[in-house]
């Protein structure tokens, strides 16, 4: 009988990982729609291609080597052991013999993790939109998902030195979002702004082509985030864990809602208008802000943490623009600025976390990712270039890079 209960719990927790992982996979669709809505129509095909390709490259690279780098059998805290391909899964007899210590399928853990690396990578695609060479981006994907992300992931979730230092990051404000934003920032700095964005000291608006898609994308991300945070509890098969998962869902929702309302009101105060695109960023910023600790806060505190994230994302977008750093979708702000805030906010509700350890973790993740990304973007820039030609940018990367229009029946 006890064996049956253990098997049932194993099955439930495995199922939980798989379903939550599927929710996070759905975030890839969310990013695709959000980005497609915020770029011009002449760049739509290219950004969609980037999104589906990066998800696929992440899936393969993480399966080949990334997962084993991040969760190695061996490592010294800084350098994981290198191994390739996924191992075998658990046998029922071993599971029962473990008394429930082994409580989920090894492959379900891989599946749950692979969708996270894809999320980190997709943060980059929005920031470099409309002017990056597709091939350079895809090559960078290989390095980011096969090396850069897994190593810093190992340092925290793989049991490396950041974990040992007391750095706390429940679902990845740092490991996923700040990491993605750092890689994006490095790329954007080497890439330069879109042509016509900053002219004669003026910041020109380049409005997105499709607000319904952008909004749809944001809602999809919001839904997927229940898997992102909820699944990171890693277990659901007893009362304590089930309640914890419920709390995580509630807090995640509250933070997103707080982020939207704060961004909406803040943009009304700043610009005199309720800015939809800012409120969409507010939702994402709120979600990122709670991702480091969605369990410990009360729902009220979670909403406030999200709201602060919503205000920070608006400020960050404006500051980046004033600094002539062109981020068409606000990815660096939503994932980077709010990622750092999310790590700091852990201290508001988690007594085990210290501000020092949180800042340490943020600094290490940012420094590693930013420097490595700068190196690889730099190598790509030297060898094949990372920016499309001026002519291609004028014509639109859809036609220039992909040979295809998103809306071929709509004449200019």
């Amino acid at each position: 009988m006890e064996g049956q209960v253990i098997e049932l719990a194993y099955a439930l927790d495995t199922f939980y990982f798989l379903v939550m992982g599927a929710f996070v996979m759905w975030m890839a669709a969310g990013f695709s729609m959000l980005e497609a809505g915020l770029v011009r129509s002449k760049s739509t095909v290219e950004i969609l291609t980037k999104n589906i390709a990066l998800y696929s490259i992440a899936s393969i690279m993480y399966m080949l080597v990334g997962y084993n780098l991040m969760y190695p059998a061996d490592g010294n805290g800084f350098m994981p052991a290198i191994s390739f391909f996924l191992g075998a899964d658990n046998e029922a007899a071993d599971v029962i013999a473990s008394g429930g210590d082994v409580y989920y399928s090894a492959l379900s853990d891989f599946f749950f993790q692979v969708v996270f690396v894809a999320t980190a990578m997709s943060i980059v695609s929005g920031a470099v939109a409309e002017r990056m060479k597709l091939s350079s981006f895809l090559l960078f994907c290989v390095v980011m998902t096969g090396l850069i992300y897994p190593i810093q992931g190992y340092w925290k979730w793989g049991g490396g030195f950041l974990d040992a230092a007391g750095f706390s990051d429940f679902a990845g404000s740092g490991v996923v979002h700040l990491c993605g934003a750092a890689a994006a920032l490095a790329g954007v700095l080497l890439l330069g702004a879109r042509k016509g964005k900053y002219v004669n000291g003026k910041i020109n608006a380049i409005p997105g082509a499709n607000m319904p898609l952008a909004t749809l994308g944001t809602f999809i991300l919001w839904l997927g985030w229940f898997g992102f945070n909820g699944g990171s509890e890693l277990m659901v098969s007893n009362v304590g864990e089930a309640n914890a998962v419920a709390m995580v869902f509630v807090n995640t929702n509250a933070a997103a809602a707080g982020g939207v309302i704060a961004a909406l009101l803040f943009s009304k105060i700043l610009f005199g208008k309720f800015d939809l695109s800012m409120s969409l960023n507010g939702a994402i910023g709120g979600l990122v802000s709670i991702t480091a600790e969605p369990l410990a806060p009360t729902p009220e505190l979670a909403a406030i943490i999200g709201a602060i994230g919503g205000i920070l994302v608006v400020i960050s977008i404006i500051v980046l623009d004033k600094s002539r750093i062109d981020d068409p979708v606000g990815a660096i702000s939503a994932h980077g600025t709010c990622g750092i805030w999310g790590l700091i906010a852990v201290c508001l509700s988690n007594g085990d976390a210290t501000l020092g350890a949180q800042l340490y973790g943020a600094a290490v993740i940012f420094a590693w990712t930013f420097v490595m990304a700068l190196i690889f973007w730099g190598i790509l820039k030297m060898i094949i270039g990372i920016r499309v030609s001026e002519e291609a940018e004028e014509m639109g990367v859809d036609v220039a890079e992909c040979g295809m229009e998103a809306y071929p029946e709509f004449k200019q």
Binding site: I203, N204, A205, I206, P207, F271, D275, I317, I318
Partner: protein, 112 residues
């Protein structure tokens, strides 16, 4: 024959079309265009950056009429498209050299 080209505000299109139909004008071609005359554009805000929308959406209405109908058509358009506010549009009249109905080959005022 005359070709009457009228640039009007988009929401006035239905009124113009009805007015022309009422006086017996049977054919009409409509194009969506952008433009401005002395009506200035307006400023919009996108993520904190201001941008000026100079070109305003308008609708171009073209009708081919006989010389006798020309004045009545102009009057019909003027009355139906008028709002009294700036940006109501303009009417241009050009001489139409010839017209042919493709299906039957009729020419001249029989083609109108």
């Amino acid at each position: 024959m005359k070709l009457i080209t009228a640039i009007v505000k988009p929401f006035k299109l239905d009124d113009v079309r009805t007015a022309l139909s009422d006086i017996g004008v049977q054919g009409i071609t409509v194009t969506e265009v952008k433009g401005f005359g002395r009506q200035k554009g307006h400023t919009e805000l996108y993520r904190g950056a201001e941008y000026v929308v100079d070109f305003l959406p308008k609708v171009k209405v073209e009708v081919a009429v006989s010389d006798e109908m020309s004045d009545k058509a102009v009057e019909a358009i003027t009355q139906s498209a008028n709002t009294g506010k700036i940006g109501d549009g303009k009417i241009f009249i050009t001489n139409l050299e010839s017209a042919i109905r493709i299906r039957t080959g009729e020419t001249g005022s029989e083609a109108l």
